[in-house]
Every structure is written in structure tokens, then in C-alpha cells.
């Protein structure tokens, strides 16, 4: 196990992403954040708070993608998490999807499908805390906290205080 | 015919003897008898008179895919039986002299044990009109037991007439006690288990009410009544009362009703579907006690072979019945001897002497003494074995005991002086 980001570094990354979102969209009037549970939702909440402090209030929601995954045969069924639309919905808005780790890109593909069920945003952007590479689909993030090159055998773990009681990003050697 | 010596065989009196068989009869019992043509070492084994089954379904004629007289005889011999009684519910029904004589001849030509046909009480087992009971009695098959088994003779008038009619030749009516109206579409013992499983109940009272009625009828006309496969505690109480009144009734219990309970139906596996149905633990205990103390006279197998497709289906579509000849003795050792409920003397009564007497099979169930017919079975009373349906001689595989570990094993069977089973294997030898 090795730590790649500590608590302070996570906060710093999120602050930077907040600024980038504001800058890229020329303010946040038409922007909403959609976090992918579990940790993506926590990050969305934090980013919303930071952006509100820096610029102006921004609404956020959560997007459950469980039923849009294409890997049911490989995984045990999970409890579904509620999808919460941000205030004012997503119709015609700039939606920033937020997740903790970007890996194969399949989660984001499922999220795009799920989002399509809810409405038609003007654009969809993607923010992730960690990009670990190994994409299997033509998907890239617009905002990245930290790029971490990994081997496929390794596991990237994100711990957030609200969910895990501690704050760090770690790489674990995978089991063979 | 050859001579056989059973060397160092134990008797139930705990004596160890040599026993000589010549020309189909026991010709000497003693110590250190000189050798004979066939020598069988019986050290540690127990000698009993050959078993007699009053209730066997051989399926021939009509359903030879389930069993034939030959395969049924082979199965009998594996189970230590030297006489079996072929039930009448064949196709065609054994309700004429022609059919019973056919079965009788098939038994003779199999030559492995006595096969005594049972005649139907009513034509086609339909319960309306008496079958040709007299003609069957007078035929070469010499039928003495009459039964519509599989169906109940439910009409009280027909039952009364049948009981009266068989008095001419000292016959007996074997009643399958099941009130048909109380058991429409019945699937298993009525009670909370059946209710939970959503299977139509077969209430105890449907058996008990018929037994009570028929005991009174038989007593009224001074005839002999035999009750097939008694299955409930209440039936035992009625029989106890009848016997205390000195009434002429005998009763049988099957091995499966002495060991299995309705709980097994929870699997919905029709291997446990049988008629009368498996009952409760309380009934099992009452039946064991009744068998031990003589309220129930005999054990009869109700050996009921069925082809696989008749059990490989949903419960309600499946056939009723279990094969039982090859496990009967071991079930009795396990449930009655090992538990101390009865001894070997009583074992001989319930499996041999009493059924032979009820049926009038005079060559069977004889005491082991010089001059007696050599219908004998040699068992290992302590052996423990696991039932394997694939090893059975019966043509069918519908045993509920597959995989079960049982005590007591049949090792050799001798039928009228021929060693038909030796070291648990059919020898190919036949009598006659």
C-alpha cells in the first residue's frame, strides 16, 4: 500500500477543480453537478460548497447508474441508490458528472445512459479525483485531480471522511 | 436334487448348528455333519424361515416396463422372501381364473419363490360387481386372498357379500381401507404439513372409518378380514379393540410406514409419494408398538414398482408407491430389533409364520426342523449397508431409501432346496 494523496492534497485538488469549472463555464449560472454514488456524490457535495464559496450557489444531485451497468453477470446485485435531480433539473444545463476514480470508462458510459433517461443537458463534462488510466472506451475527463499511472493488478482506493472516516488516496498491490 | 449343507449357522435360539438339505427339505440338523455337494459357510450368520409377503405388486400382465413376475421374484429373493402374493391390479385385472392362472404359471417358470396370485374382489376393481371369486379359488392358482388393493371396496353391501362368499373355501378379504369420498385427489397425510405445502390431505379418518366398518361387517357374517397397510395410530386403536373382543381380523404394516414420515414430502420429491401416505412420527411410533405387541400381525411390503417417468415429474402427477422387497428385512432390523422393540422370535412371526398362516401357504413359514420344506433365509444381523437403487434386482428404482444406511442384511436365500441367492448375489439357480 502506498499513499498517493493525503487529506490536504485532496482538498487542494478539489479547490483547483472548482476554479477550473468556474473558469471553463464562465461562471456557474447554467452549471449543475451530478455525483455518482457513493464517493462521487460526496465529492459533488464538496465541490458544490467550494464553488458556492468562491463564486455563487450551485445546485447538485446524484445519479445512480446501477441498472445501467452492463456487467450484472459478473457482479452481485447491489442496493439501488436514489437518483436526486439537482434543483431546476438538467434540461438545457451544463452537467458536470463527478466520480472518484476514472478507470475503464464503463461507469461513465453507464452514467451517460442514465443521464439520457433524465433529460437532455446542453453539454456533459466529467470531473474525477483520480485518473488511473487503462481506458476501454473513448472517454476522457475534463477535470482531473491527479493522474496516477497504475498497473492493472493494482487497486486504487479513495477514502473520504464522510464515507470512510478518513481521508486519502492509496494504491494497493492487487491479489494475483 | 443336490444336497446342501449350511455350516455353523446360528439359530434364533442362539444354538450354532450344521443343517443338511436334501431334495428340497431339511434332512438333518446337528453338529459336524458330513459334507454335502454344496457347502455354505454360515459362521456368524443367522438362519430364519423364508419370508412371506402378502402384498406385492408384480405389474405383469400389463406393465412389464415396471416389473415382471421374474424381476419381482428376483427382487423378492434378494430380500429373503420365498413366497410373495401378487396383487390383482394388473392390466387386465386379475379378476378371472385365466389371469390368476397366468400369473401363477409365470411364477412357476421363474422358479425363484412361490408366487401366489391374489384375486380381485370386484370386476375390474370397479367396486360394483363381485369378480369370479369361486372360479379363481378353484383354479390351479388356488387363490385364497382377494383384494381390490389400490382401491377400497367402499360399498358396504359388496364388502359384506365378499366376506360372506369367501367362507365357502376359507378365503380372506384384504381391504385397502380408504374412503374414496374423503380422499378425492388426496396427495399426502392431512395435517399442517399438507396445508403448508398446498397438497390435498388424506385424512386418517378415511382409513379408520373403513377399518371400523369392515371389522363390524366381518364380525356380523363371521368371516375373515385382513387389513392392508395400516398407517395410523387411530387404526391401531380400532384393531386393539377388535382383537380384545376376539374378532377375526388381521392386519399388516409396511416397512416404510415404520420409518418414514410426512416431513419428507416437503421436498416435493414424489419418491416419497405412497398410498396410504407417510404419516406423522406419532403414527410411526404407534405402528412399531402395535407390531411388537401383536395388534398388527404381519409386515407386508406393498412393493410397488414404477418406471422412472412416473416419478420424474411434479408431485400431483406422480404415481403412488415404493419398491420394498429388498429393504424390508433391513428396515425391520433397524426399526424393531436395533431399538429393542422386538426380538428375533417375533421377527420370524411377522415376516414368515403369521403371513403364511393368514394366506394358507402351508409350504411356507414352517419351523426349522427335520422334514420341513427348505424355504430358508440366512442373514447377517449386524451388517450395516447403504441402499443403492442401482444395485436392486427390481426393474424399477423407486426406493425412498436410496443412500440410507440400514442394519441387517440378507446373505443367502434357499427356495425349496435351491440356493437362489448366495453371498448377496442371484445364483441363476431355479427350482423345478
Amino acid at each position: 500500500m502506498s499513499m498517493v494523496l493525503d487529506g490536504a492534497e485532496i482538498t487542494r485538488s478539489l479547490k483547483r477543480i472548482s476554479h477550473e469549472i468556474i473558469e471553463r463555464n464562465h461562471g456557474v449560472d447554467s452549471v449543475v453537478l451530478m455525483g455518482i454514488p457513493t464517493r462521487g456524490a460526496t465529492l459533488a457535495k464538496r465541490l458544490a460548497e467550494m464553488i458556492s464559496d468562491i463564486e455563487s450557489p450551485i445546485s447538485w444531485g446524484t445519479l445512480d447508474i446501477t441498472l445501467h451497468r452492463d456487467d450484472l453477470r459478473l457482479r452481485a446485485p447491489r442496493a439501488l441508490v436514489e437518483t436526486v435531480l439537482p434543483l431546476g433539473g438538467i434540461e438545457g444545463r451544463e452537467v458536470v458528472l463527478i466520480d472518484d476514480v476514472l478507470f475503464s470508462g464503463r461507469t461513465i458510459r453507464a452514467a451517460l445512459d442514465a443521464l439520457g433517461e433524465l433529460g437532455r443537458p446542453r453539454s456533459v463534462q466529467l470531473a474525477v479525483l483520480v485518473d488511473r488510466g487503462h481506458r476501454e472506451l473513448p472517454i476522457r475527463a475534463d477535470y482531473v485531480g491527479k493522474n496516477i499511472p497504475t498497473s492493472l493488478k493494482e487497486t486504487v482506493k479513495v477514502y473520504l471522511t464522510e464515507v470512510d472516516g478518513r481521508e486519502s488516496v492509496e494504491i494497493e498491490a492487487g491479489r494475483l | 436334487m443336490s444336497s446342501i449343507i449350511l455350516r455353523s449357522v446360528s439359530l434364533v435360539s442362539e444354538q450354532i448348528v450344521d443343517l443338511l438339505i436334501t431334495d428340497g427339505r431339511i434332512t438333518a440338523i446337528g453338529r459336524d455333519l458330513p459334507s454335502a455337494e454344496i457347502e455354505i459357510n454360515c459362521e456368524g450368520l443367522l438362519l430364519l424361515p423364508g419370508f412371506v409377503d402378502l402384498h406385492t405388486h408384480l405389474r405383469e400382465p400389463g406393465k412389464e416396463n415396471a416389473e415382471t413376475v421374474l424381476t419381482g421374484s428376483q427382487s423378492a429373493v434378494r430380500g429373503g422372501f420365498t413366497a410373495i402374493s401378487a396383487m390383482a391390479n394388473t392390466f387386465p385385472v386379475a379378476d378371472t381364473a385365466g389371469v390368476v392362472e397366468q400369473v401363477w404359471r409365470l411364477g412357476k417358470s421363474a422358479g425363484l419363490c412361490d408366487v401366489y396370485p391374489i384375486g380381485a374382489v370386484s370386476e375390474g376393481l370397479e367396486g360394483n360387481k363381485l369378480a369370479e371369486i369361486g372360479a379363481m379359488a378353484d383354479s390351479i392358482a388356488n387363490v385364497r386372498i382377494f383384494s381390490d388393493d389400490g382401491k377400497c371396496v367402499s360399498d358396504p353391501l359388496l364388502m359384506r357379500r365378499a366376506l360372506e362368499y369367501v367362507k365357502r373355501f376359507g378365503g380372506v378379504i384384504a381391504q385397502h381401507a380408504q374412503d374414496p369420498r374423503l380422499t378425492i385427489n388426496a396427495q399426502m397425510n392431512e395435517g399442517s404439513t399438507a396445508s403448508e405445502l398446498g397438497l390435498t390431505g388424506w385424512p386418517a379418518v378415511a382409513e379408520e372409518s373403513i377399518i371400523a366398518r369392515d371389522i363390524l361387517l366381518a364380525n356380523t357374517v363371521s368371516s375373515r378380514l385382513h387389513i392392508c397397510h395400516v398407517s395410523t395410530k387411530g387404526s391401531v386403536e380400532i384393531l386393539r379393540w377388535a382383537k380384545s373382543q376376539g374378532m377375526n381380523v388381521t392386519a399388516e404394516v409396511t416397512p416404510h410406514h415404520l420409518i418414514l414420515t410426512e416431513e419428507l414430502a416437503k421436498s416435493y420429491d414424489p419418491i416419497f409419494k405412497v398410498n396410504p401416505p407417510l404419516r406423522t412420527q406419532e403414527d410411526v411410533i404407534a405402528l412399531r408398538e402395535a407390531l411388537a405387541d401383536g395388534i398388527i400381525d404381519v409386515v407386508a411390503t406393498d412393493h410397488a414398482p414404477h418406471p422412472q417417468e412416473d416419478k420424474d415429474c411434479e408431485w400431483s402427477a406422480a404415481a403412488f408407491g415404493m419398491v420394498g422387497l429388498e429393504t424390508a428385512f433391513s428396515i425391520l432390523v433397524t426399526t424393531m430389533i436395533e431399538t429393542g422393540l422386538m426380538g428375533w422370535d417375533r421377527m420370524i412371526e411377522v415376516l414368515s409364520t403369521a403371513p403364511a398362516k393368514i394366506a394358507g401357504y402351508s409350504d411356507q413359514g414352517q419351523s426349522i426342523e427335520v422334514g420341513a420344506f427348505a424355504n430358508l433365509v440366512i442373514v447377517d444381523p449386524k451388517a450395516e449397508w447403504v441402499v443403492d437403487r442401482e444395485m436392486m434386482a427390481s426393474k424399477s428404482r423407486n426406493t425412498p431409501f436410496h443412500g440410507m444406511s440400514l442394519r441387517g442384511e440378507v446373505v443367502h436365500t434357499i427356495y425349496r432346496g435351491a440356493v437362489v441367492l448366495q453371498d448377496r448375489k442371484l445364483t441363476g439357480a431355479v427350482h423345478g
Binding site: A79, V81 | S195, T200, D269
Partner: protein
Amino acid sequence: MKHLLSINDLSREEAIAILDTASQLETLTQGNMKKLPTLRGYTVVNLFFEDSTRTRLSFDAAAKRLSADVTNFATKGSSVSKGESLKDTAQTLQAMGADAMVIRHSASGAAVRLAESGWVDAHIINAGDGTHEHPTQALLDAFTIRKHLVDQERDFHGVRVAIVGDITHSRVARSNILLLKKLGAKVTVIAPPTLIPVGIEAWGVDYSYDFDRELEEFDVVMMLRVQLERMNEAYFPNGREYSRAYGLDDLRLNRLKKSAIVMHPGPMNRGLEISASSADSIRSVVLEQVTNGVLVRMAVLYRLLGGPELLNTGGSL
């Protein structure tokens, strides 16, 4: 959980998880009934040996809404004829590729038999077997009750449910009794003595021959369909007498608690076990039961068809 054969197969937690999943599906599909891609590439076979258009359509809708391919097999009337082998039919459909089989059969235990005989390896869902069980009906009924009566804590304790009618022959009653007990509700079954199952004492429910006795106490009144054939089997004299003693008529409807709901698994015999005005009253949730049926069956399919629990794969895919 590989199969859903009986409510006994579900732990309390699993039952609640199914109800929760159905709730979330309801939110998810609110207002738009577009397909979810969850079961894309899966084949669900509806194996109906007994007529039941409603249940079949409900399973059909549930599977399709999750993007599964659906094959329907239906055979008319009673199937307990020897020619129609459950084994052969099931194996034939398995050979065509079936991930799940939804089976409806007139023989009690048919679903258990299919699951445990080794004939097929698909997931088996019992859609009603003889007079045994109908677990998805019980789940949708519990889901409906929960939406109406149970507070946020999702606790059924204190909820009183009356199940009225032919208990002996009702698979709906059996499954509901098992599930409602599991969830903590108090169940009273009400029927003439001839239609109360033998040995009900062992079921852990109250039973009564008198519909009027505690009528004001019930939160839920679930009416069962009465089969008029039962008259010929001497279970009750005639429909009129049955209706008078055990029907939910207008008088009884007005005596119910204000918050009480009226349920019926359908199809209803209006004028026999339920009056037209009871069936159409604001207390009646009969149509809602139908809607909820699809959600609950989607939840069951989703939870059953998932792969095995894997070791933590870490992060996102």
C-alpha cells in the same frame, strides 16, 4: 439467492431489499417508462402451464422493461395430463437458452421440483404453484401496504391484516401469511371453517369464522377470489350465503377504519366476495397492486440474476 420458490427462501433482510429495490425502481421510472438496459442479453422464459394472463403480462412487462429477451410458453388448461411433461418442456426451453424461468403450474411444488430436480440450471421464479405459493404476489402486496400504511422506519409492526376467503386453496394467502409475519405484521385469516386449512394452529396466525368481529381493527383487508366450483365440493352452500357472511359489502366497507385499504389479487368476482362499490372505492388499491406488480417483479429479476458476490474489485471499473 438463486431461486424464488417460496417466501421461506427469503430472509427478512432480503425481502426488505426487494421492496427497497422496487421503491427505487419506482422513483427511477417515475413519469417515464423507458427501458433500463440492466438485463440486456438475458433471456427470461415465461413457462405458463396454467392460464393467467395477468401474471404473465406482469412478468413480461418487468423483464422487457429491464431489456431482457422474453420467450413465452403457454399451454392451455390443466397440465397434469401425462402427455405434458414438465421436465421435457423445461429442458427444451433451457436448450434454447434461458437465464431465468418464470413458472406457473397447477401442481403444488412444481417450481420447487424444477429448481431442485437438476433438470435445468436456470434461475427459477415461482409465479404460482397449485395451492402452495405465489411469492411475487405477496411481495407486491407488501409493497403496496408499505406505501400506504407503514411509516418511514419501514416497520410493519402493529399493522393488522385480514385475509378473507378460501384460505385452504389460496397460494396468495400462504405467501402473504409467510411474508407479512416475517415483516412483523399481525395477520388474521377469516373464512368459513371448511375453508380454513387443517392444522392452521401451526401457522402462527389468528383465525376467525366471523368477519364482523374485529372489522374496525384492520388496517388492510385482503379479499380472496372465491371459486364457485367449491360449492359442489360442499365447502359452502351457495354464493349468496357466502357473500352474506364473508363478502366485503357496502355495510362492512363503511365500518372499516378510515385509513384502511382494500386489496384483491384479482380477478375479482364482483358481487360475490367484494361488492362493486368496495372494489371501486377510494380504499381499494386493486389497480395499484397491478402497477406495483411490475416494479416488484423487476426488482426480483434484478436481484436474482446478478452474478456471484465478488471480492472487492476496487474503485470504479
